[in-house]
């Protein structure tokens, strides 16, 4: 058990991803990913656009066309292979999409209440609390349609409220702060903390290293591989000080994993290895 900000974190693996690989349309999207999220932990997965973070989220959630080619995902010790999205959700896994869907005519309150299962407490109260948690006045938003009439930032908040209302065991939040104005970022960060404080493990996917400050543990993802897992501050230093400039100096797009330069960079890291030190990526020549 570790302690962060006075909060005890049980060192129980809730989500264990082992040697996971995904290949789509002739490209390696995920390469031997290993990642563990402990119960009650905020685990930040940091990486540039196109590094495979969202794909990993879709694989864990069981989305269509995201069946891994190899590897294993265990949730609370149970292998998720072959389980549908619904079955995974009912085990307590959920996902807040980076680009939330638009639902013509479906009221915001109804959408948020979807994840409140019958055996849980009063749905209406839960929905109200969730809307308040993302700073959306329930009387204004509860009956509005969750469609294109909401701004991008409003839809993000609604999506996060739906996750919060569900009280999941594992909340995967894909870029939860994208589309949120600077003044409102605090609302989103408070919601993430609240999720964790109320018992949800959070896998927080982001390309913004500022969010790493919320993490109990951080992993760094690059070209479909986890390059680093460990201390959040070290992950942030590595990402901002070495990884990003290094990639930019290569002139390679993050998704261009097949290019010789990128392959060489990966080889120099020893391939997809967790717990690498920040020096594992060589400085550009």
């Amino acid at each position: 058990m570790s302690v962060k900000d006075g909060k005890s974190i049980m060192a129980e693996p809730l989500l264990q991803i082992e040697n996971l690989s995904l290949r789509r349309e002739g490209r390696d999207i995920l390469r031997g990913v290993n990642l563990t999220v402990q119960a009650g932990q905020i685990h930040v997965l940091l990486g540039l656009n196109g590094s495979g973070k969202s794909s990993l989220a879709y694989v864990v959630m069981g989305c269509e066309s995201y069946t891994p080619d190899s590897g294993q995902i265990l949730f609370d010790g149970r292998d998720l292979a072959g389980l549908s999205i619904t079955e995974r959700a009912r085990m307590g896994i959920t996902l807040a999409w980076q680009e939330p869907a638009r639902f013509e005519g479906l009221p915001v309150g109804k959408y948020i209440g979807v994840g409140v299962r019958e055996d849980q407490t009063n749905e209406r109260e839960r929905v109200m609390a969730a809307l308040e948690a993302v700073a959306l006045p329930p009387k204004v938003y509860g009956f509005r349609a969750a469609d294109q009439t909401l701004s991008g930032g409003e839809r993000k908040r609604v999506e996060l409220a739906a996750v919060y209302a569900m009280r999941p065991r594992l909340a995967i939040l894909d870029e939860p702060d994208s589309g949120i104005d600077v003044l409102s970022l605090g609302d989103i960060e408070r919601l993430i903390r609240r999720l964790a404080d109320e018992g949800s493990a959070v896998l927080l996917i982001t390309h913004r290293d500022e969010l790493v400050t919320m993490a109990d543990v951080a992993s760094l993802m690059c070209f479909g591989s986890i390059l680093f897992t460990g201390d959040p501050a070290e992950a942030r230093r590595y990402y901002a000080g070495r990884c990003r400039p290094h990639l930019e100096s290569l002139g390679a797009q993050p998704w261009d994993a097949a290019s010789p330069e990128v392959q060489a960079a990966l080889a120099s890291n020893g391939g997809p290895v967790s717990q690498l030190s920040g020096d594992a990526v060589k400085e550009p020549a």
Partner: protein, 328 residues
């Protein structure tokens, strides 16, 4: 017909009136209406059961001329020029027995500059073999605004044939906004046919929402002619079909004048062995006009579906929720 005469008529002195009225109020409720509103003195109301006029209550600015025919009713509904009717006018049409034919011939005259909203409910709760035919002629005067919302309830058997037909003329600067919905109970056979002519700087918006199940057959034909300079038109069709239901949507928009803008939007969700067809027709006769259309026919949006599955709904629950939202 004066208001006082109508109210006496609405009280109904003939035997059996009360029972029929009670049945119609219940049917009205089943169709989604609020029966209490039909009894408010400040609300204009017309209630027709088969070919019987059970109530025709006028208010200042709204006038009904209604007469019984052998198989239905002929009605003239007029709104005086320049008036603004604060509360929606309530229309209730229905057939309570299991079998019957109801033919409604209606003329609507909305005077220049008038503003009015109609809530029409058509209910056939016990239908096993019922035909309902509506032939309407609607004139929206210059600068007038008419919002016409029509909801149907056809009961659980699918034994209804309904043919709402309307010819609409929207004068310059007028607004005609209509929503037709048949989303609860069975549809049976439905043939909706609207033709709308839109004048200069006028607006027409037609929304149709239908949910077909069993062996329901749905046909939607809508034609919007943007004849005046700066005329605007929108057709928005939302249909869901499952089981072995069949839907056919034919929408036409004509851009016939400079600055005319039209758009047709059609979404049809198909489940099981159902079938959906969509045929948009765009005609532009002026080089300053523009008409666009979009259509999505088939399964539900994958992202919407997975978003709901990720909250723990199963696929049937999620699809139903998406459809209900779309048809709301």
């Amino acid at each position: 017909m004066s208001a006082s005469t109508v109210r006496e008529h609405a009280l109904g002195q003939r035997p059996g009136w009360a029972n029929e009225m009670a049945a119609m109020l219940e049917a009205y409720r089943e169709a989604g209406g609020n029966p209490d509103a039909l009894q408010l003195p400040e609300v204009a109301t017309l209630v027709v059961s088969a070919n019987e006029i059970l109530a025709a209550h006028e208010i200042p600015g709204v006038h009904f001329e209604a007469e019984s025919l052998e198989h239905g009713v002929k009605a003239n509904i007029a709104v005086e020029p320049g008036v603004k009717i604060e509360r929606p006018v309530h229309l209730c049409f229905g057939v309570i027995p299991a079998e019957g034919l109801q033919e409604i011939s209606a003329e609507y005259d909305i005077g220049a500059g008038a503003q009015v909203e109609f809530l029409a409910h058509c209910s056939f709760p016990n239908a096993v073999k019922v035909q309902h035919v509506m032939e309407a002629c609607i004139r929206v005067g210059e600068g007038a605004s008419l919002t016409y919302t029509e909801a149907h309830y056809h009961g659980p058997t699918g034994g209804v044939e309904v043919r709402p037909h309307a010819g609409v003329r929207v004068a310059d600067g007028g607004r005609f906004i209509t929503t037709f919905s048949l989303t609860r109970g069975r549809v049976g056979l439905m043939e909706l046919d609207y033709v709308v002519s839109v004048g200069a700087d006028a607006l027409a918006e037609l929304t149709t929402k239908v949910y077909g199940t069993g062996d329901d057959k749905i046909t939607v034909r809508e034609v919007v002619r943007l004849n005046g300079k700066g005329a605007r038109g929108l057709t928005k069709t939302r249909v869901a079909v499952r089981d072995e239901a069949v839907s056919q949507v034919y929408t036409t928009a004509e851009g016939n004048a400079p600055g005319a803008r039209g758009h047709m939007s059609c979404t049809e969700i198909v489940r099981d062995r159902a079938e959906a067809r969509n045929t948009p027709l765009v005609i532009v006769r002026d080089d300053q006009a523009q008409v666009t259309h979009e259509a999505a026919i088939g399964t539900v949006n994958r992202k919407e579906l997975e978003s709901l599955l990720a909250r723990g709904l199963d696929e049937d629950e999620a699809v139903d929720l998406i459809i209900r939202g779309m048809l709301r």
